[in-house]
């Protein structure tokens, strides 16, 4: 909208950086080279955990003064919901924070489309593989917490559509 012709590095560029460094970049296949292995999973975790960008400026990414940090934080909060299998690995405090956010309801209503995307399935798989605790969550928290129940329906749209009319109804409000 306001490109004025040129590319920029702006408030949400950190997401680009994380994606490029952890999902892309040259992988060196050699016996003498080691790496932490699943950097992609690490990227998912990091994206999920990014809730504040203040320190980014210190390390060189320049965020304009007018950057709406709250918006950015909410965006990252939402991505935690979508990645909830992974996020549970990180611990519960972020989930608790989300409970307080009224907006998260409206945000979630659009989420079901997520499940129809091929990539999302891939992510759910790789995320699940990385955190065993997440598997336990699926059954346990669904009844206990509305937040998690909605999160589930978001990542398993197909099943939700068939078996969970209530969740589907929530989608309709969209």
């Amino acid at each position: 909208m306001s490109n004025s012709g040129g590319p920029t590095r702006q408030s949400d560029s950190l997401a680009d950086v994380v994606e490029m460094l952890l999902d892309k970049g040259v992988v060196i296949n050699a016996d003498i080279v080691v790496s932490i292995g699943d950097t992609e999973l690490l990227g998912v975790q990091l994206r999920a955990a990014i809730a504040s960008f203040e320190t980014a400026a210190e390390y060189g990414l320049e965020f304009p003064d007018g950057t709406d940090m709250r918006r950015v934080e909410q965006a990252s909060g939402r991505s935690e919901l979508e990645d909830d299998d992974t996020v549970t690995v990180e611990g519960g405090e972020d989930d608790a924070a989300l409970d307080d956010e009224e907006q998260s309801d409206t945000e979630r209503q659009s989420a079901p489309e997520l499940g129809t995307r091929p990539n999302d399935g891939a992510r759910a798989e790789s995320a699940g593989g990385g955190g065993d605790e997440a598997d336990g969550d699926e059954g346990g928290d669904e009844d206990a917490s509305d937040e998690d129940a909605d999160g589930e329906s978001a990542s398993n749209t197909e099943q939700a559509a068939e078996s969970d009319a209530a969740a589907e109804e929530a989608d309709d409000d969209d």
Partner: protein, 280 residues
């Protein structure tokens, strides 16, 4: 990386080199900056190919996401500085460590000289740019509703139906809307890709997975319709920017255009199975 899962145990070693990127070395140019975990970064030149690295004794692994984020940004800063000093670098993936001393690095560079040289030549003067096309959720919905006969029919049927039937019809309505959204996304992505192709050396479509706000309808009410990463020269920037401005001129459409980045998405895996692209 997947085929080396057992390396996860080897996070400690006696001597290693954390690798940031490979560059084409000019005479006399050096690099003086701090890297991941504030380690001093240096350039190890092997003839005309330089490797930007720092000395380390372990991999950088942490469960502390703040720390990880800091490292990632520090890594990026080094690659940025290298790009500024030496031109387009070949950026390595975060936390790539070669075990051994400088001589091992030299040996490795000698072994991979062909691949590294080819890519440095090919990428010279080119940078990665990222383009994301977004559309206002509500405007998109209105647009789709107004243009689809099937939705109009369903709407009428819902009006006329009892509550049970209406419930089922509403499901169909949403289903139809979802299909239309998907179609629209595909169309827009294809159209934008065609236009980008005119300007750039290479275009890759990115999946939805990795943006921070990767789903439509987050708090700003925007839906991502397409994401691309392109390889282009700085001279192409202006033309691309103008073209994207045209795209963004449509009501409710927003374009994110970031860069220049080191060409992370346009580099090969080096060694092992040749020609394997990294990532997507």
């Amino acid at each position: 990386m997947a085929d080396d899962t057992d390396t996860e145990g080897e996070t400690e070693f006696e001597e290693g080199r954390y690798l940031y990127c490979a560059v084409t070395v000019d005479d006399g140019t050096d690099l003086d900056t701090d890297g991941v975990d504030d380690e001093p970064v240096r350039l190890l030149a092997v003839d005309d190919i330089g490797v930007v690295l720092h000395d380390c004794e372990s991999l950088y692994d942490t469960a502390d996401m703040d720390e990880l984020r800091k490292w990632v940004l520090q890594h990026q800063n080094v690659v940025d500085a290298a790009g500024e000093a030496f031109g387009t670098p070949i950026p390595f993936q975060f936390d790539t460590v070669l075990t051994g001393d400088d001589d091992r690095v030299r040996e490795w560079v000698a072994e991979e000289r062909g691949t590294l040289g080819d890519y440095l030549d090919r990428l010279a003067g080119h940078w990665e740019y990222r383009v994301e096309l977004r559309r206002e959720e509500e405007a998109l919905r209105e647009d789709l509703v107004a243009s689809d006969d099937r939705l109009a029919e369903l709407d009428e049927e819902i009006e006329a139906a009892g509550s049970g039937t209406a419930f089922m019809l509403e499901k169909q309505y949403d289903q139809r809307l979802r299909e239309l959204r998907r179609e629209r996304r595909t169309d827009r992505a294809a159209a934008l890709r065609d236009r980008l192709d005119e300007f750039v050396l290479d275009v890759n479509e990115l999946g939805e997975r990795t943006t921070l706000d990767d789903e439509d309808g987050d708090d700003d009410g925007m839906e991502t319709q397409a994401r691309f990463t392109v390889l282009a020269t700085e001279d192409d920037e202006e033309g691309m920017g103008e073209m994207l401005d045209e795209v963004a001129a449509e009501t409710g459409v927003e374009v994110r255009f970031t860069g220049p980045w080191p060409p992370y998405s346009f580099v090969p895996a080096i060694g092992g199975e040749d020609g394997t692209e990294t990532g997507g």
